[in-house]
């Protein structure tokens, strides 16, 4: 069947599989949040449904889904459990980097086959102590010897690092390389030692287990991607991250609005006066906001898909991608605030069917993961060199 199955054939069964995984995630969401534990059952369900291979090309045994479908799955998962959705999204971004930039390397083709066949979970080891959160800067360097490499990296925020089967890790190309002269490499878990240096007891996104680790990795030089990391970051890692994060943030906001709607319906049912419910107009406002967000994220996903594979990113595309992330992250929080106003203290409660506590806490991470203030600095600089398309096209 290899190469014969088309991804479209899989769309309907995959949507059902995603819904099934979301139900598992929903059943465990409260405990995952309370205890700050990795959502193991939900990830097992996603693996079982082959959704960890969603972006692995069909000829390599994956589902070869377009990014828009993966965005829809992220959104559906986030309605159930934000942490599960974020872990799923981060994994998919790593797969996208390999599928778009490493298919001409035998080691990576073989590795992607393993990702598909065994449902491997990939984590991102980009963060590093002492670089001020700049993705395009590394301190650690790859040390090469006789076709092998070693690298030691002090990561500060390695989401689900203790649960991943492999890490995608950035480092300087060599000991003499500049901080921005970075490569991306795949480190297999069995070839790494991880020493936990920072824990994760956070306000929200508690199940992502975003701990700090001192990582010692080794492997064959074939595991280093030939494409410079700057290219991979600009064309795939950054835009795909923004698109999938935004998809899941919209999912969190959508669940909050769903709860607010249930609250208003229940209030009307209990009131025989026939008066309009007090929260109604604000619920309608939240729906307006959510519709705009859905449309914006969907359109951006479609534009990303319409580009040829690994087409060089234009400045206008980088501006759009940054603006999407900064705008959607804050707007989703505003939607949940409105839902909270509708639900009142039932929403303020940490428990119950109208509780919005987890939604609010989880979404507070959105403007912080790559700080929006820093991103707007970057966008402002990009605007010096490119005019974004702002009208209807």
């Amino acid at each position: 069947m290899e190469g014969v199955l088309r991804s479209q054939d899989l769309a309907a069964p995959m949507a059902a599989a995603a819904a099934g995984a979301a139900e598992v995630a929903r059943a465990h969401a409260a405990a995952v949040d309370r205890d700050a534990v990795f959502p193991a059952a939900a990830l097992a369900a996603l693996r079982e449904a082959r959704l960890l291979a969603a972006l692995v090309p069909v000829p390599l045994g994956g589902l070869g889904l377009p990014l828009g479908r993966v965005g829809a799955i992220c959104s559906a998962l986030a309605e159930a459990c934000s942490s599960t959705a974020m872990i799923f999204a981060m994994h998919q971004v790593q797969v996208a980097c390999l599928a778009r930039h490493a298919l001409d390397q035998e080691w990576h083709r073989h590795f992607l086959r393993r990702v598909a066949a065994d449902g491997l979970l990939l984590a991102s080891a980009n963060s590093e102590a002492g670089i001020g959160g700049d993705l395009r800067t590394s301190r650690c360097a790859v040390l090469r010897d006789g076709g092998r490499f070693t690298v030691r990296k002090q990561t500060t925020a390695l989401s689900y690092g203790a649960h991943a089967d492999a890490l995608l890790l950035t480092a300087r190309r060599g000991e003499d390389a500049a901080p921005t002269d970075q490569v991306l490499l795949v480190a297999l878990r069995e070839d790494c030692t991880l020493e936990r240096t920072a824990g994760w007891d956070a306000l929200g996104m508690r199940g992502t287990c975003t701990e700090g680790f001192l990582v010692d990795a080794a492997g064959s030089e074939a595991q280093i991607l030939a494409t410079p990391f700057g290219t991979i970051a600009g064309e795939t890692m950054v835009p795909a991250s923004h698109l999938l994060w935004c998809s899941l943030w919209v999912g969190i906001a959508a669940d909050a609005v769903g709860r607010a709607r249930s609250f208003v319906r229940a209030a009307v049912r209990g009131d025989r006066s026939g008066a309009a419910p007090p929260g109604g107009p604000r619920l309608a406002l939240a729906v307006e906001q959510l519709q705009m967000l859905q449309a914006q994220v969907t359109a951006s996903l479609q534009r990303f898909e319409a580009q040829a594979d690994a087409e060089p990113a234009s400045l206008a595309a980088a501006i759009e991608s940054n603006a999407l992330k900064t705008g959607v992250s804050e707007a989703c929080l505003a939607v949940v605030q409105n839902a909270l106003r509708v639900c009142g203290f039932a929403g303020y409660s940490n428990a119950g069917r109208y509780s919005l506590s987890r939604h609010l806490r989880d979404l507070q991470s959105a403007p912080l993961m790559i700080n929006n203030d820093r991103m707007r600095d970057t966008t402002a600089r990009l605007l010096l060199a490119a005019a974004p398309v702002l009208g209807i096209v």
Partner: protein, 81 residues
């Protein structure tokens, strides 16, 4: 102009390799020039060669190679916009 341009690329382009060793026609994007790199290089080129890129020339094509940047800067110097 060539030496100054290569020095600008080294300082501002965040390339994966030294610009001094690059072929005139080499695709700078293949060597890691990214969007922030383009902005940095553009600003440095404008200041170094006293030119102003019109929006129409602020394209990836302009910054795709040392030869292309050189050609555009020469064009701007001979016919200021």
């Amino acid at each position: 102009m060539n030496a100054e341009l290569r020095s600008i690329l080294d300082k501002h382009g965040r390339l994966g390799v030294p610009a001094t060793g690059l072929d005139e026609a080499a695709d700078l994007f293949r060597f890691g020039l990214d969007s922030i790199g383009i902005v940095n290089v553009m600003l440095a080129v404008e200041s170094e060669f006293d030119v102003e890129f019109p929006d129409a020339l602020l394209t990836r094509q302009t910054f795709s190679s040392i030869a292309s940047i050189t050609r555009v800067v020469r064009q701007l110097q001979s016919a200021p916009v």
